[in-house]
């Protein structure tokens, strides 16, 4: 099979659509221009891996890696549906073999190792293949002295259907990331809705820099499990990006429209071979006045 980024997406066509978060009727074209975000409440819609590549990488720069990896059913797992059926369905729905897509690509000309954990594929959960791709991605970054960027939408955490093997992917991925980081390599984690459980408690939390999209659900235990355990209602905004940044677990929250530019800036500061930012013309004149206002409040 020749590798190609699948463009499959579930959204029905129509001029208007309802935001699933604020329920406002919004013009589809405006949503799309906002890179699939709600113009009213800034809710970030789930997007495909192909769209993510389009948004963040230089055009036509993405070269996939490790596409030969395919999941098996190591436990012979049968719930209501067998794991094999689940995999097949996810493959058909997304056009991809697994939840993880890795490759090299360029951001403003800078070569990076770029990975996506696709929430559209079994909730982006991590089995052996996802873990292996993350580890190989980190090793590729180590071998070629490239920054590693992973955009995670891994609400499923460690994939139940691969049992203990999924759990220990937490250790495998973290070990590979440590080796990269110990050698001076840079790992930027971009967290999107949702990243939970075994993913959040390993590779997703280990970025040298961690940026999240707004209103993403990020945490260890699922909200339902927590509310059942503590027998109380969870506070509003619990386990969102905003909650995490407030408690000190994120560097920034960044709107999808600004994400590419934000990554460019981060790469400038983390990669010696990236040129410094050019000083914008107008800032030269206002520099003195703007001094006190330098740190942006909020996002």
């Amino acid at each position: 099979m020749r590798w190609a980024l699948s463009r499959k997406r579930g959204a029905p066509d129509g001029l208007w659509m309802k935001c699933p978060s604020c329920e406002a009727m919004v013009y589809r074209k405006v949503v799309e221009e906002g890179l699939h975000t709600c113009p009213e409440c800034q809710f970030h819609f789930r997007i495909s891996a192909a769209e993510r590549v389009d948004h963040l990488l230089d055009a036509d720069s993405f070269e996939p890696l490790f596409e030969e990896l395919e999941s098996i059913d190591p436990l012979g797992f049968k719930g209501k549906k067998s794991y094999k059926e689940k995999l097949k369905k996810a493959q058909e729905a997304t056009g991809h073999r697994e939840a993880a897509l890795f490759g090299t690509g360029k951001i403003a000309g800078k070569q990076v190792v770029f990975g996506i954990i696709d929430p559209n594929f079994i909730m982006g959960s991590m089995g052996s293949v996802v873990g292996e791709k993350i580890a190989r991605g980190a090793e590729h970054a180590y071998d070629h002295k490239l920054p590693l960027i992973i955009v995670s939408g891994s609400g499923g955490g460690a994939r139940m259907e691969e049992g203990i093997l999924s759990l220990f992917q937490m250790a495998k991925t973290s070990a590979a990331i440590k080796r990269l980081q110990d050698a001076g390599g840079i790992y930027i984690a971009v967290l999107t809705n949702a990243t939970m459980g075994g993913s959040m408690a390993s590779w997703a939390a280990l970025g040298d820099i961690t940026i999240a999209e707004p209103q993403a659900l990020l945490g260890f235990a699922g909200p339902r499990v927590i509310s059942q355990t503590v027998r109380q209602e969870l506070p509003p905004g619990f386990q969102t990006s905003e909650f995490l940044v407030e408690h000190g677990f994120l560097d920034q929250i960044c709107h999808r429209k600004e994400l590419r530019q934000r990554l460019v800036s981060m790469l400038r500061y983390t990669c010696a071979d990236m040129p410094v930012a050019e000083k914008p013309q107008q800032k030269r004149h206002t520099a003195k006045i703007a001094k006190t206002n330098k740190v942006q409040a909020g996002t």
Binding site: E68, E162, F168, G198, A201, G219
Partner: protein, 329 residues
């Protein structure tokens, strides 16, 4: 075992305990009996003991995965504190994460094991209700993991091997745990343990509950006791997801492949530490002795390996975990 409710045991063990109690009662009768009555009681006891032997063989000889999960949680099962009391000399507990508080759900400290200075740690479940509440039933908060990491770094500095006893249903799923970064704490422990430059032995003595277990569970050797389990999710949680019925936990225990034999077959665990027949709680002294032997064997092996080689082996073992195929792209 005074003060312990002897019938507070898993369902499948109850007939055995009942029979044992009956035999004990008869022995007490025997002490005061004379003549014919004494002879008759003696005959009865020997009959009952034969029955007991048969019953134990039929029950403990055919444990299914769910039975083992129940044994791993057995109220009388030896805990980390028992292993420390029996196997570790001059234990010096080291508390606190120096940031928020001391989490009793994880115990850490210096200890001497068979003449070797080591760092010991483990999930602490507690025996009495008071202790259990203090330890949050073995469910640690982020400060517990941060405490453990701090002590492990100290062990690295002092070149002390680490022995970690795993026994937790899972890291605590609570509001404050999330506020203080449960996932961050576990992730950092896992990452750092993968690179600590001292030998690490992990021994699962009871429940290996998911990320909460792994948070002090990365190392050079992965040992597990015969009636312990290790799983990505609790059987109850898995059953609730699969069949919306936590009562189907026994079915879930089967599909998850969480028993020691499964874990060895899947290439995760290295060796099973045997237990006395029927489980560690039935003869704790024997259990301690098995643990002593296995820990000593692995510790001696690991201490003989040069550190660079040790690091290399640890990384390779982790990198080899997982099962997949490679097909034409």
């Amino acid at each position: 075992m005074s003060g312990v409710d002897r019938l507070n045991v898993p369902e499948f063990e109850r007939p055995i305990v009942e029979l044992e109690m009956k035999i004990e009662g008869m022995r007490m009768d025997l002490a005061t009996a004379i003549g014919e009555r004494k002879a008759s009681i003696e005959t009865d006891i020997s009959e009952f003991e034969k029955d007991l032997k048969k019953l134990m063989e039929s029950v403990f000889g055919n444990l299914d995965p769910w039975d083992r999960v129940q044994l791993s949680r057995h109220p009388n099962r030896p805990l980390v504190t028992d292993y420390i009391n029996v196997l570790i000399d001059d234990f010096q507990e080291l508390k606190g994460d120096r940031a928020y508080k001391d989490d009793a759900a994880i115990v850490c400290g210096f200890g001497t094991f068979e003449g070797n200075k080591v760092m010991v740690m483990g999930h602490r479940k507690g025996r009495t209700l008071k202790e259990r509440l203090e330890c949050n039933f073995g469910c640690a908060h982020p400060e517990g993991y941060r405490k453990a990491l701090r002590k492990m770094k100290l062990a690295e500095k002092l070149n002390l091997p680490i022995i970690s006893f795993i026994n937790t249903p899972g890291a605590y799923p609570g509001i404050e745990a999330e506020e203080r970064g449960q996932s961050q704490a576990i992730a950092e422990n896992i990452r750092e343990m993968s690179g600590l430059r001292v030998p690490i032995i992990t021994l699962t003595i009871g429940e290996g509950g998911s990320g909460g277990a792994l948070g002090i569970g990365v190392g050079d050797r992965y040992l597990i006791m015969e009636n312990a389990y290790y799983s990505v999710i609790s059987p109850e949680g898995c059953a609730a997801i699969l069949w919306h019925d936590a009562k189907k936990a026994s079915d879930a225990a089967r599909v998850l492949r969480l028993t020691p034999n499964d874990l060895i077959e899947l290439g995760i665990m290295d060796e099973i530490v045997p237990e006395p027949f029927g489980g560690a709680h039935r003869d704790p002294r024997k259990a301690y002795e098995f643990v002593r032997q296995y820990l000593l064997k692995h510790l001696a092996e690991l201490m003989a390996i040069p550190v660079e080689q040790l690091m290399d082996q640890r990384y390779k073992k982790l990198r080899g975990m997982g099962k997949y195929i490679e097909v034409a792209a």
